[in-house]
């Protein structure tokens, strides 16, 4: 069974919600990433989303754009990111890892080559931001054959019909973008998220992760009360960016934030 399915089943059994951190691979440098992934697992995260750097991240806000730029200064390519996942897998065979990025590096590597390499590196899911289901007809089956779940986005303006289509194509979980905007925006509206999740659940049984705009433990706890998983990205990358000169504090600050999110989420769900 896929690590993602196992993980969501275990969480459901223990009435907990998934905490999913997002970091950009290779930011601030390639040596940082794998140790940070292990440290985040120790802090209690359930799934890791690893950003694949791209030169033109059109769905990302300035914080993740700069993370991509820092990673690309170190030439962190898709192949390097797959190597990092393989390295992570040597010590952790249970935590699901999902790659999140843009289509062009995959087009450049070749669909079949990417699917095979991702599967053998131990990647569990691939969220390709600029590949909606309409354009996923070639890549999605190749990924599935390689044991990598294609993960799709839902948005505040996704219609019933699109939710149905996307729910039928997606595997593992669906990623609900909580607001119209780019990553790192600051105006997540909990009541509109609640309404939309009700609509989405009418059409799919897949777990739903909510991301974009989750900045602190309080918001994470509120979202955990509504969704199956909470994604936090820009808030973590902000910590990296603020501490570029004090590398030793990056890990401890990220861990502190994630631990606080974890405890708030668990408290809110059991309350």
């Amino acid at each position: 069974m896929s690590r993602l399915t196992t993980r969501f089943n275990d969480l459901a059994r223990t009435h907990r919600k998934a905490l999913i951190p997002f970091i950009t691979a290779g930011d601030p440098d390639p040596e940082f990433t794998v140790p940070m992934m292990h440290a985040m697992v120790n802090a209690g995260v359930d799934i890791i989303e690893l950003g694949v750097p791209f030169s033109d991240p059109m769905a990302d806000g300035p914080v993740i754009q700069r993370a991509s730029e820092r990673a690309l200064e170190h030439k962190t390519s898709l192949r390097h990111v797959l190597d990092m996942v393989a390295k992570f897998r040597r010590q952790d065979s249970t935590t699901p890892v999902v790659l999140m990025g843009y289509l062009n590096p995959i087009e450049c590597m070749g669909y079949d080559a990417f699917a095979e390499a991702a599967g053998s590196a131990g990647v569990d899911g691939a969220l390709t931001v600029d590949m909606p289901p309409e354009e996923a007809g070639a890549l999605a089956p190749m990924l599935e054959n390689a044991g990598v779940y294609p993960i799709f986005l839902l948005a505040p303006n996704s219609t019933d019909q699109r939710i149905q289509t996307i729910g039928a194509m997606g595997k593992g979980y669906l990623y609900y973008v909580s607001l119209k905007g780019v990553t790192g925006a600051s105006h997540l509206d909990v009541s509109s998220v609640e309404r939309k999740l009700r609509q989405i659940r009418r059409f799919t049984d897949l777990p739903i992760a909510v991301g974009f705009g989750v900045k602190d433990a309080e918001t994470a706890a509120m979202i955990a009360g509504l969704a199956d998983a909470v994604v936090v990205g820009s808030a973590l990358i902000n910590i990296i960016e603020k501490n570029l000169d004090r590398r030793e504090t990056i890990e401890s600050e990220i861990i502190t934030l994630l631990e606080s999110m974890r405890s708030h989420m668990d408290a809110s769900v059991s309350a």
Binding site: M58, L78, C108, D130, E135, A155, I166
Partner: protein, 407 residues
């Protein structure tokens, strides 16, 4: 990805319903933009068959833009070069000085019909930004133009024009700080403000329906030119030449001739310092297919699929992608794509200025420079039609700089 070559023996009807030109084009965007693109596609299809809309567009093109633009027989230059008779489609005589306004007039009318109150645009050289700010001013719409910080430096005059017209010009500091980054930023704005905002893309790139819609607004160039050439010379031209950045002026000229198999179509990309130096903007000549800005097309990328910086003397051609229809026309062999260096483009610029008294834009100068190579290989009874896509006023500082002259 390679196209399955299929000869053009049936009526040309691309793109398909999902915006595909063979393997190219399509809709490669994040989910939040899917619905706005669908709404735009529906509005565009509806109004392109609405006689009232078309009449208003036609009246605007006539009375505001100044169409039809003339075709001019460049007799002195033709004699100098020897060979084919050279004709120029004078898009430089349009209001705002380039072909860009044909498209912004059309999209602004569409924005108005869709009830949008805010216009955004990306711009490289600033011509599309000016053409957008112009129509926004006329219609009383709020206008925000995204422009790379590097381009703002080299196109100060156009930045000032946009501000005079009431637009806000936002300097984009991300990435290479040029047109591609301005496009990223405009897409980010659109995804954030989709409810009241209309994004006027300036070229035949972006997600469907933009490549088809911008083409349709620009085909007025080719439709007029086809009639004008028939009237002036009694036959179709033997060859068409146009510069290609994103490719809107070229597709506007080519499209009405696609089924006229006798007409050779040549798109001219910017070779910058030379294709062999890597410092150029010629994805069709030296790039590979990939996905950027919502469509699949030829791109300039490194071995990992990261988009690389481009170079051209002309900011309007300085773009790492190209319209997907050009990618298809190239693979089909229906159009040829060649490249012209900065240095050659300057020769074209000076030739037209001195021999015909017309100062061309540096973008258009690429087409002129290729015509200087092509015309002498053709017979005197043959004709060559160049799209003179814009005037050169905006480039005075660039040219003077290169020649060491302080203005």
């Amino acid at each position: 990805m390679t196209a399955h070559a299929e000869p053009l023996d049936k009526p040309y009807d691309l793109p398909d319903d999902h915006g595909h030109f063979g393997p190219y084009g399509g809709i490669f965007v994040a989910e939040t933009l899917m619905l706005p693109l669908q709404e735009l596609n529906e509005a565009y299809h509806r109004y392109m068959q609405d006689s009232e809309f078309l009449a208003e567009l036609d009246a605007d093109l006539r009375h505001y833009v100044g169409r039809p633009s003339p075709v001019y027989h460049a007799q002195r230059w033709s004699r100098e070069l020897g060979g084919a008779r050279i004709y120029l489609k004078r898009e430089d005589l349009n209001h705002t000085g380039a072909h860009k306004v044909n498209n912004t007039v059309g999209q602004a009318l569409l924005a108005q019909r869709m009830g949008k109150t805010r216009i955004i645009a990306e711009t490289g050289a600033g011509q599309h930004g000016v053409a957008t700010a112009t129509v926004a001013a006329r219609m009383g719409l709020e206008c925000v133009v995204y422009m790379g910080a590097e381009d703002i430096k080299r196109q100060a005059l156009n930045v000032y024009r946009m501000k005079l017209l009431g637009a806000e010009v936002v300097s984009v500091e991300a990435g290479s700080k040029t047109l591609k980054d301005a496009l990223n930023e405009a897409l980010r704005d659109w995804v954030t403000n989709v409810d009241d905002t209309f994004y006027i893309i300036g070229t035949v790139a972006g997600p469907h329906p933009y490549p088809a819609m911008v083409r349709d607004f620009q085909t007025v160039i080719g439709r007029e030119a086809r009639e004008q050439m028939l009237e002036m010379t009694g036959k179709l031209p033997d060859a068409l030449v146009a510069c290609v950045g994103g490719g809107s002026n070229a597709i506007g000229l080519f499209y009405p001739f696609i089924e006229d198999r006798s007409v050779r179509m040549v798109g001219v990309e910017a070779a910058g310092d030379g294709i062999e130096t890597g410092r150029h903007s010629a994805p069709l000549c030296a790039g590979r297919p990939g996905v950027l800005h919502g469509n699949r097309t030829y791109l300039m990328e490194d071995e990992d699929g990261e988009i690389i910086e481009t170079h051209s003397i002309s900011a309007g051609l300085d773009y790492p992608g190209v319209g997907p229809e050009h990618a298809w026309l190239k693979d089909e062999g229906r159009a040829e794509y060649v490249s012209i260096t900065d240095r050659e483009a300057l020769e074209g610029f000076h030739a037209l200025t001195r021999l015909e008294g017309i100062i061309p834009a540096l973008e258009s100068s690429h087409a002129l420079a290729y015509a200087m190579k092509l015309a002498p290989t053709m017979r005197a009874d043959q004709t060559l039609l160049i799209n003179l896509s814009g005037r050169g006023d905006k480039d005075m500082h660039t040219v003077a700089d290169i020649e060491g002259i302080q203005l």
